[in-house]
């Protein structure tokens, strides 16, 4: 297929339309509340994509997502409050810290098979939340941290309204899509696919499963902390409960699972379904515990009806459109069948 024809694929057209749509969308929305919900959707799309790198493509389920969000968030706030350092300079610090912590968790567990990794992430997340509460000199403990408004200042990520964050997160979503895509088409991405398929076979075929899983987890953690830093600036208030809780980790996992694990667009779709649902349930039911019931229900429904995620419904639809567009022409040509038969 030629490049030009690739650009005419329904997927690409839909992508372009979606991008233009989201670019001009805020001009039609007056309510700041709706804008903040859209920002949250995009933030969770990025969180979900980060989770997907190891949890989806690697089938190594992490429940420490919130810890890495918190690493990004707290690094940002602490360096800004204590040292007046711009988030753009503290983000690399957060990336380094999350890289180190991911290495620590992965190092002890990726040589083992089974649920060890998942369990270790839960243990780590709980310990990390404890640490945030304990070092209250820096983190203000359970009370949480505020960032005060310092006038319109892009370098400080301080704005008089939330709209700039809308565009910042739109860019983050696009970057995350590109990073995810590059990752799955990289050698590490291919190796991770083999590990997900059959870890024993992968190992005997030369794939160093430990290193590959570790690398994927490090990338996932780094993405998570970057998104966490921006998310914190948007929230202007962070606490161990809001940024480091098990609940947040679960929500991030649910976003990817409902949308479709191991798919590029699954977490994006998932976020735009889950976040509004949570907002709605908060408004309608009031209680904070309502979200947990909702997660449970969603999981049951997903497992029963579409375990591969809602995005696969769209993918199937695109395939159909493609087939109709290509008419009777053979769509899939097997590789090099035209040469002599041996």
């Amino acid at each position: 297929m030629t490049k030009a024809k690739n650009l005419l694929q329904p997927k690409f057209i839909v992508m372009l339309i979606a991008f233009l749509f989201f670019l001009i969308l805020p001009t039609f929305i007056e309510s700041n509340y709706i804008i903040t919900v859209l920002i949250k959707c995009m933030a969770f799309a990025v969180f979900g994509m980060a989770w997907n790198i190891i949890g989806g493509y690697g089938a190594q389920v992490s429940w420490a997502s919130a810890s890495f969000v918190a690493i990004g968030a707290y690094t940002n706030f602490i360096m800004q409050v204590e040292l007046s350092i711009s988030p753009f300079l503290s983000i690399p610090v957060g990336m380094l810290l999350s890289f180190l912590f991911a290495t620590l968790i992965g190092y002890g567990t990726f040589r083992l098979r089974g649920a060890y990794f998942a369990i270790a992430t839960i243990a780590f997340a709980e310990a990390f939340r404890g640490v945030l509460q304990y070092f209250s000199g820096l983190t203000r403990g359970s009370a949480g941290m505020f960032i005060t408004y310092r006038g319109n200042n892009f370098l400080a990520l301080s704005f008089s309204n939330d709209r700039p964050f809308y565009f910042i997160f739109l860019v983050l979503v696009i970057i995350s899509l590109i990073v995810s895509r590059l990752f799955i088409k990289s050698k590490t991405g291919y190796y991770l696919g083999c590990i997900k398929g059959d870890e024993d076979a992968a190992e005997t075929l030369g794939i160093e499963t430990f290193k590959v899983k570790l690398k994927a987890f490090q990338i996932s953690a780094i993405m998570m902390s970057v998104a966490g830093a921006f998310y914190a600036s948007f929230l202007t208030f962070i606490s161990p409960i809001s940024t480091a809780s098990f609940n947040l980790s679960v929500m991030i996992g649910i976003v990817a699972i409902v949308g479709g694990t191991a798919t590029l667009w699954g977490p994006v779709l998932g976020a735009f379904i889950i976040v509004p649902l949570i907002e709605l349930s908060g408004v309608l039911l009031g209680a904070a515990g309502a979200s947990n019931v909702l997660y449970g229900l969603l999981l049951v429904v997903m497992v029963m009806f579409r375990p591969s995620g809602l995005i696969t419904i769209l993918y199937a639809l695109f395939d159909k459109i493609k087939k109709i567009r290509d008419g009777n022409r053979k769509v899939k040509v097997p590789i090099s069948v035209d040469e002599e038969d041996s």
Binding site: Y190, Y191, C194, G197, T204, G206, S336, V337
Partner: protein, 250 residues
């Protein structure tokens, strides 16, 4: 000819069961050696020990003049050129047949070369027509070929084929034997593991027979078939049976 592999006094216990005990044998460079023996005699365990899946309690494995130790991980051994298939094939789940092979060729090549190499291998194993299928949907004989195709993608020097004939019909077996010969002609040394001896006569010049975890006999497949100890080990029946899994008894 120099030695490809030298196994000496290899032993391993599984909770009291001596699956392999004091087992020794050699493989010459470039040959097709048959490793045969009745079910449960320790053939797969031997393959696991050589490929690094299990660690021996005692004994040594020397590959191309180098002793293999715990330092040589499973993946390292693959990179050194030791390949193996599994008695029960292990396709990479929902990954396409193409990606099953492509992912492995990527280890030694850049993307462009890997693509060419993958197409070549898929063609050799007649998997090119099903290259877009999820590997988990392949029938058993294609799974076996995919297993072998992936091993070839590692560009091995030694390939251990663990019962690659089991479950195939006579036609597929014949094709398989041709394939084994062709792989061998490209310079790959082969350890051909079977529990039914008839299958190996046409491809191997030398056979090692195992029984109850240890060495029993070595010679040409023809002499092995006639050897009294070997016949006794097989309880006089299965060794000379047609290569059919389902009727192994007298």
């Amino acid at each position: 000819m120099s030695k490809m592999l030298e196994v000496k006094d290899l032993s391993i216990n599984f909770g009291g069961i001596k699956a392999v005990r004091d087992f020794s044998f050699d493989i010459e460079e470039g040959e097709i050696l048959a490793l045969i023996g009745p079910n449960g005699c320790g053939k797969s365990t031997t393959v696991n020990l050589i490929s690094g899946v299990s660690t021996p309690n005692t004994g040594t494995i020397k590959y191309q003049g180098e002793f293999l130790t715990k330092k040589h991980s499973i993946a390292t051994r693959s990179k050194m050129g030791i390949g193996r298939t599994f008695q029960t094939p292990k396709p990479f789940g929902f990954l396409s047949v193409y990606d099953n092979v492509f992912s492995i060729t990527l280890q030694r090549h850049g993307f462009k070369e890997a693509r060419a190499k993958t197409n070549e291998i898929l063609k050799m194993f007649e998997l090119d027509m099903v290259c877009e299928e999820p590997s988990i949907k392949l029938p058993i004989e294609k799974r076996k070929w995919l297993d072998l195709a992936r091993v070839m993608a590692t560009e091995p020097k030694l390939v251990m084929m663990d019962e690659c004939m089991a479950g195939l019909n006579p036609n597929e077996m014949q094709e398989n034997l041709e394939l084994v010969k062709r792989i061998n002609k490209t310079g790959v040394t082969i350890l051909f593991i079977e529990h039914v001896m008839r299958a190996v006569v046409s491809v191997c010049t030398r056979a090692v027979v195992m029984n109850e975890g240890t060495f029993l006999f070595e010679g040409t497949p023809e002499t092995a078939l006639k050897n009294a100890d070997v016949i006794r080990a097989y309880i006089g029946g299965a060794a000379t049976e047609t290569p059919d899994e389902s009727k192994g008894g007298e």
